[in-house]
Amino acid sequence: MEYKLTFRTYSDALKKNKLLGLKCNDCGTFTCPPKMTCQECAGTDLEIAELSGKGEIVTFTQTFVSPLGRECEVPYTIMLVELEEGPWIMGNLIDLAPDKINMELIGKKVKLGHKLFPGDTYSDGEAARPQFSFVV
């Protein structure tokens, strides 16, 4: 059985600021990032859906100690965003003054863009990653 939506396809779409997920035809749940089966009911009758890319911040952290090779990026902010369609995805927040990174971020409305991770020695090539900015 083949994946309906693989990482490669998801990443290529994200490079065009399009967020792809899966809609379950059995229970209606959206799964994003995509998987082989529905996140809720493990159903396999899934169709590819373009999500709005809009949502709100549910949690965050500002990181000062990076993995090897990412030192030039610190400090950066990692977040989980609850999408309008329900699922949460992990991504970054656009650059923001460090004193603005606090609990006030939770609940703020954001919209999706992307940034490219070129990959490192331990990656299988590049990966587009969600990068969010505030909805004004």
């Binding site: 952290t61 990181t63 990692i78 989980l80 990656s123 969600p130």
Partner: protein, 391 residues
């Protein structure tokens, strides 16, 4: 299923920059465990070994076979378990099942790790491999970041001001360092204060340096035997009364439950049901305090406190010797150290010693302890829980 006992354990010092190899460290701990069991290497029928990152830290894979050979357990089946920080606990659970089933009578299990050889940047990179490599790591994900996001989520969801949560978290680290002072194998013998924790270097907000366990080198080993064999070998067998293990997907896929970690709730439920026991029956617990917030979340998941109230256990001193549920009297991962492939075996070693009443001289004995719980978390995807018990 037969009853299975811990008949001997061994534990190296947990240190920064060990001069020994992963194989040497586990071989030393294993020989101590075998000797304590009144056995010889030829009596061991199989080895179940936790090891996570030897490929990266030493360029050494397949440590399990070399350990078996080094200690004179020639040609026995040897298997390596990789479940991030829960690797050794996974190995012990499997070793338990092979003896319980009757397939083997005596097996050696344990784990070894030499994380400090990698240095902080590579160690941080390799630990991040226990997150989702394609959908989450590209954001610069690290393990401290996982628990940092858990802390902010916890504060919001349970409506606890971050300042109070941070103080509770600091108390977790302070207690661990206090007990680590009395553990001769611990990496740190240094008392700290709440002020020191709250003024430390920011690793990833809100986690500061002393909210985080260190990178460590070390090994620990455990010999398991069937009940009838155990009774012939030693006076005070400690039995494995319940085991549980569960898994989960990438962090974002756990969105319906976070900051709860459901794998723990499933894992410990299996262990409690198998043992016919519950949280109130546990006399002493070693839980996975990789980060201070992780202890608070673990205490709730294991049933010692209601959701949002785990930190109160530390505020009220309930986690100390003499409290409702003594936690991490070894010093925990925070002070004892966290050589990830060995941690679960170290926790079992500690609980077995508590239940045998061997820690009086070290000033860390929970008096009269008869039932102990081991809880180990690996990445965000594996949690293993074991209940140990004396008759």
């Amino acid at each position: 299923m037969r009853r299975v006992a811990v008949v001997g354990t061994g534990h190296t010092d947990f240190v920064f920059n060990s001069p020994k190899t992963e194989v040497e460290m586990l071989a030393e701990a294993s020989m101590d465990a075998i000797n304590q069991s009144n056995l010889k290497p030829k009596d061991i029928q199989a080895l179940y070994c936790g090891n996570c990152l030897g490929d990266f830290s030493e360029g050494q894979g397949m440590v399990q076979s070399y350990v078996a050979n080094d200690i004179g357990c020639f040609n026995i089946p040897a298997s390596r378990f990789e479940g991030a920080c829960a690797s050794a606990t996974m190995a012990i659970r499997d070793a338990y099942m092979w003896v319980a089933s009757g397939f083997y009578d005596i097996v050696l299990t344990g784990g070894t790790e030499k994380a400090t050889a990698m240095g902080t940047p590579l160690a941080t990179r390799t630990f991040a491999m226990f997150g989702d490599s394609r959908y989450e790591n590209p954001a610069g994900f690290t393990f401290p970041a996982f628990f940092a996001m858990e802390a902010h989520l916890y504060s919001k969801k349970y409506n606890m001001p971050l300042e109070r949560l941070k103080e509770q978290m600091a108390l977790v680290s302070v207690q661990s360092h206090q007990y680590g002072m009395n553990n001769p194998h611990a990496q740190f013998h240094k008392e700290i204060t709440v002020d020191k924790v709250l003024n430390g270097f920011m690793v990833t907000s809100p986690l500061q340096l002393l909210d985080c366990c260190p990178f460590s080198d070390g090994a620990a080993a455990v010999v398991l035997a069937s009940e009838d064999v155990a009774k012939r070998l030693i006076d005070k067998p400690v039995y494995i009364a319940g085991v549980g293990q569960a898994s989960s997907g990438k962090m974002s896929s756990q969105y319906k439950y976070l900051p709860r970690l459901r794998a723990r709730e499933w894992g410990v439920k299996q262990a409690y049901e198998m043992a016919g026991l519950g949280p109130k029956d546990i006399d002493v617990c070693e839980l996975h305090d990789c980060f201070s917030i992780a202890s608070i979340i673990a205490a709730e998941g294991l049933g010692f406190a209601e959701l949002g109230k785990g930190g109160e256990l530390w505020e009220k001193g309930e986690t100390k010797i003499g409290g409702k549920i003594p936690v991490n009297i070894s010093g925990g991962l925070k002070s004892k150290g966290h050589p990830i492939g060995a941690t679960g075996a170290s926790q079992v070693h500690e609980i077995a010693r508590q239940l045998r009443g061997e820690l009086v001289d070290e000033g860390r004995q929970v008096e009269g302890a008869k039932v102990g719980l081991v809880d180990t978390l690996g990445g965000d995807g594996v949690i293993v829980d074991l209940i140990l018990k004396t008759d």
